[in-house]
């Protein structure tokens, strides 16, 4: 089994798709010659050959590689060089090895309709192709892979019209013009439908404005009043109220015994007090403080001095 690299199989797939597109746009039925015995030559492009020199180089190679005075030839110029089939008698169609499907890299014995071929493939291009003396030669012990020649009109060496068309500026100009027409039609439709929608919505707004009348101004007044009241109220309550908080905490401590305030800190809704008292039931005090509805997170810890406690509470 021949393993094919993912990149190669992708190339093959793209090539097949382009072939199909080409035949769909320009359908053609070309005859395939499976009887003529031709010999095949592959001549890679020399290094440094410019694009505009290719046609001259191809002509020269055809002349150089054709050994017969009267002969027919079939040529295919790929990305890597010239592929030439030469036959002593005229071809009755495209040579069957030109019309076959491209094979992955490797050597193959390929059985055609009337002839068998020993082929070498590289990058989906036929590098070498020899007509074998007889079909029975195939069975004589060699390790090459035998394949049945599958020929069709999407053959690897049948030039695609699409390729030549895509090299023409006028074709691209046509594609750009087609895209421009599509864009203009699509966008104009979108703009038109948008304008219709907007005008319908605006009409609805005007009609509703007339119907609502005073209700709208009342709604605006209501929203304004709500914003002002909420804004001012939130501002006023943002840091809570120290006097009221201190009063409620002090009233709880007062229930216990005489006490003395050593320090008082108030920040970010947290009151922190250093309290001195000779006799303080801190458990009861925390219980009482927790019962206050406006306080949360009551913490108490001893100070380094005797009978002194640090009390912290957060306002809800």
């Amino acid at each position: 089994m021949v393993s094919v690299f993912p990149l190669q199989s992708l190339q093959l797939l793209i090539s097949k798709l382009v072939n199909r597109l080409d035949r769909w746009i320009w359908p053609q039925n070309k005859a395939i010659d499976s009887t003529s015995v031709s010999f095949y030559q592959f001549q890679p492009f020399p290094h440094g050959l410019k694009k505009h020199q290719v046609s001259g180089w191809v002509k020269l190679q055809k002349k150089r590689l054709t050994p017969f005075t009267t002969s027919d030839s079939y040529e295919f110029v790929s990305t890597s060089g010239l592929h030439l089939w030469i036959c002593t008698s005229p071809f009755t169609g495209i040579p069957e090895t030109a019309a076959q499907q491209a094979l992955p890299d490797g050597q193959y014995i390929v059985q055609g309709k009337n002839h068998a071929y020993r082929q070498t493939w590289s990058k989906f291009q036929l590098i070498n192709c020899e007509v074998m003396a007889s079909v029975s030669e195939i069975s004589q012990g060699n390790n090459d892979i035998t394949k049945l020649l599958q020929q069709n009109e999407h053959g690897w060496a049948i030039p695609r019209k699409l390729d030549s068309k895509l090299r023409q500026a006028s074709v691209w100009l046509g594609i750009v013009a087609f895209c421009a027409i599509c864009v203009v039609v699509w966008m104009s439709t979108a703009y038109l439908s948008g304008t219709i929608q907007r005008s319908a919505a605006e009409q609805q707004v005007t009609a509703l404005q007339e119907t609502l009348g005073d209700k709208l101004s009342m709604q605006a007044d209501l929203n304004q009043a709500l914003d002002v009241v909420n804004g001012l109220s939130n501002w006023h309550q943002e840091y809570a109220f120290l006097p009221e908080t201190l009063a409620s905490v002090a009233s709880v401590i007062n229930r216990q015994n005489n006490w003395q305030l050593n320090t008082l800190t108030w920040q970010n809704r947290v009151i922190s007090m250093e309290v001195y008292s000779s006799d303080l039931d801190i458990t009861q005090m925390v219980v009482d403080l927790e019962q206050l509805p406006n306080l949360t997170q009551i913490n108490i810890r001893p100070h380094i001095s005797d009978n002194t406690w640090i009390l912290e509470a957060t306002v809800k």
Partner: protein, 193 residues
Amino acid sequence: MNIPNAWLNNKFVAEFQSNLRLQWMTVVIAAILLVSLTKHFADLIESEKQQIQTSIDLAEKYQRTASSSFDTEGVEKLKQTQTSWLDAIPSAFSASIAEASALSEVEQKVNKLIKAKRLNLIGSEELTFASEVFWQVRIEIAGQVNPANLIDLLANFDSKDRHVRIASMQFNPKAANTVNLVVDIMFKRVSNA
């Protein structure tokens, strides 16, 4: 005169047909024009879409208003609350006047209660609620307060005064009764026209 022939004989057409580079350049220019045309149309449609959305939102809002019933009493109550809040906030023509008024008010509130006092104007900030504009002036008060006067001092900044709030406070009776108080005072902007 045959127009197509005249067109074909035109020297610009002939030049275009013979010059491959000119043809490709035309393709590139056409492609650039196509891209900018698409961008222009897309922007136009985007702005149209936003306008449509605005109109639809407004129509929906009006429909909600039309279908909802107004509690006239509730509206009146809310308006009264708004008025009471606005009445509780003193007015000022400018931020500078608000700052001066705030310093004066604080001075008046703490004058007899804090010894060796220092007032420091931290700054003022503009706040907007609906169409009403306010200035919040922040003042830091430092000095010494007799513990017996602490309650009186705090009573000047309790929740009844709706335009005043205490942001922070440190009171240290053990360290010469030092006090550090940061208060915010709110003023509403009025035009002097």
